[in-house]
């Protein structure tokens, strides 16, 4: 470790013994979770964006490939973008093979993430249920269940009686869209999204990587067609490889690097209710009426809303989407009709034409891009980082092969927009 903070920030493990030890000395011995070092002149790899995906990329570069001379540069604060704004749902019940492989890798990494990072990310495999409320949706989910069986993703189609048994508060005889069944993934669930970012940041810092917050990358410096570094609000920093992992601002960063992306950015909203007693211990997604809901450990109902239909970078979204979402959920869960909503917010999602992500080399040598996760990136955080790290270290990865940014030119879509039909 060549950071001057290196020795100070060698990570002390969290454990029950650590809690007992600190309890005995008035909690004076806890160290900061990660260092805030001054940037060096040069790194082997710079990752732009310290959200979940950027930090996970850095973590697996170090863990799987021994590349630890890495800086993760963040414009705002750690995990303050979409990582801290999503509804924390984790599932892998996708239709297309490349998606299922990537998302299932991700879901399986969540299973042991708390142990791997020595940080409690509160992964809760409580089960994810996607309601089928039209005949078309029933056929679609049956197809997905069969595809998942072939892909080795554990899902099954369940009947309305089983839906009611798992979620007693649901109204399966709704007036417009009665519940006809559901696609059920028992090992899907939720995790604490902030903890995922914090856990990765702490582990990266422990490997000697630099997490540099409050620093914007303002330009990408090139020699010929090869990246040699970046300009930041804290001066120029050199690098051999650059990873752009900035979600909603991918288009902005790509322009600074000198290429275009097939991406459009729009706000996606979420809201939470006041906390109530435990009433629903699974995640329910109702895609026909468009709303999805789970209950957090604090008791708040966490509700995912709609995406604005036009490009915007305002992290709030249009008000009428809240009404549409809440109306749909009240129809599905009549008991929440008197519930008060506490907070509403938006995050900028980066949408591709086929609603599948981009993990790819770019027209600029040494620059890699990880974006296009659209409305469903949180669930992919560890898998995305795993695959992106392999791509950046080796130049290719079996998981990212199909997710090239050049697939649009070739017409090789991974068409989850048809498969999911809606936010995913």
């Amino acid at each position: 470790m060549d950071s001057k903070f290196g020795d100070i920030f060698r990570m002390k493990r969290y454990s029950v013994f650590a809690v007992a030890r600190e309890a005995a000395r008035y909690h004076t011995g806890w160290q900061r979770a990660w260092a805030s070092p001054e940037p060096k002149k040069k790194y082997d790899v710079i990752i732009v964006g310290a959200g979940g995906h950027g930090l996970a990329t850095a973590f697996y570069l170090g863990k799987n490939f021994g590349i630890t001379n890495v800086a993760i540069i963040e414009k705002g604060w750690l995990g303050g973008g979409n990582t801290g704004r999503n509804t924390t749902i984790i599932r892998s019940n996708y239709l297309q093979d490349p998606s299922a492989a990537l998302y299932e890798k991700s879901r399986s990494l969540y299973e042991t993430m708390s142990q791997d990072l020595n940080y409690n990310v509160m992964f809760s495999p409580r089960g994810v249920m996607m309601l089928a409320q039209t005949e078309h949706e029933v056929r679609g989910y049956l197809r997905t269940a069969h595809a998942n069986a072939l892909q080795g993703v554990a899902t099954r189609f369940i009947d309305p009686a089983e839906v009611k048994k798992l979620v007693p508060i649901i109204n399966i005889h709704g007036p417009r869209y009665p519940v006809l069944g559901a696609l059920w993934q028992p090992r899907g669930g939720t995790a604490r999204h902030d903890a995922v970012a914090w856990g990765y940041a702490r582990a990266c810092s422990d490997m000697g990587m630099h997490v540099i917050q409050q620093t914007e990358v303002t330009a990408v410096r090139k020699e010929g067609n090869r990246v040699v570094g970046v300009d930041t609000t804290r001066g120029p920093i050199d690098c051999d490889k650059l990873g752009i992992v900035v979600a909603g601002h991918s288009g902005v960063m790509a322009e600074r690097a000198g290429f275009r992306l097939p991406i459009e950015s729009a706000p996606l909203q979420a809201l939470v209710s006041e906390p109530i007693k435990p009433c629903m211990d699974v995640v329910v997604m109702a895609n026909t009426v468009h709303g999805y809901m789970s209950q957090s450990d604090k008791g708040e109902m966490v509700i995912g809303g709609g995406t604005d239909s036009y490009n915007a970078y305002t992290q709030r979204g249009s008000f009428h989407h809240i009404e549409e979402t809440v109306r749909a959920l009240v129809e599905t869960f009549p008991m929440i009709s008197r519930l008060k909503m506490l907070r509403q917010w938006g995050g900028i999602v980066d949408m591709t034409g086929d609603r599948s992500p981009i993990l790819s080399k770019t027209p600029v040598e040494g620059v890699f891009v990880n974006c296009g996760w659209g409305t469903g990136g949180f669930k992919a955080t560890p898998g995305s980082g795993w695959a992106m790290a392999e791509l950046m270290a080796k130049g290719h990865s079996p998981l990212t092969e199909e997710f090239s940014m050049f697939r649009f030119r070739e017409g090789k879509f991974i068409d989850e927009s048809v498969a999911a039909g809606v936010a995913h």
Binding site: H249, G251, V252, R260, L261, P262, I263, E264, S265, S309, Y310, N311, A312, Y313, T314, S318, F319, H320, G353, F408, R409
Partner: protein, 109 residues
């Protein structure tokens, strides 16, 4: 809530009355075009953080398509103009130049 002035029927319409139609002033490429041009036309978009030109339809009003210049960062609207325009008219350009000094213009044709 976003409100746009429909240049045809003169109504200041709420966004619930409108349908968004994506980026305006796209240059169309068809059979015989290069792969790169065709890909650009179908998939590549400006997606700017700032001034943006868009197609909108007054769906629950007069039903007509029109174009709008809008800031994607502040949702400020600089002006709307008829769909037949091949580039933003002078009054819209003036409004943008006045409010966003230094804004660099791209080619529209």
């Amino acid at each position: 809530m976003l409100t746009l002035h429909c240049p045809y029927c003169g109504v200041h319409a709420d966004e619930t009355e409108l349908a968004s139609g994506g980026e305006a002033h796209l240059k169309r490429f068809g059979p015989g075009a290069s792969d790169e041009d065709f890909e650009g036309y179908l998939f590549m978009r400006e997606n700017p953080k700032g001034v943006h030109f868009e197609r909108w339809r007054h769906a629950y009003g007069c039903g007509k398509w029109f174009l709008a210049a809008r800031c994607t960062n502040t949702l400020e609207v600089f002006g709307t103009y008829p769909a037949q325009s091949t580039e933003p008219p002078q009054h819209v350009r003036d409004a943008i130049s006045a409010k966003r000094p230094g804004w660099t213009w791209r080619e529209f044709s």
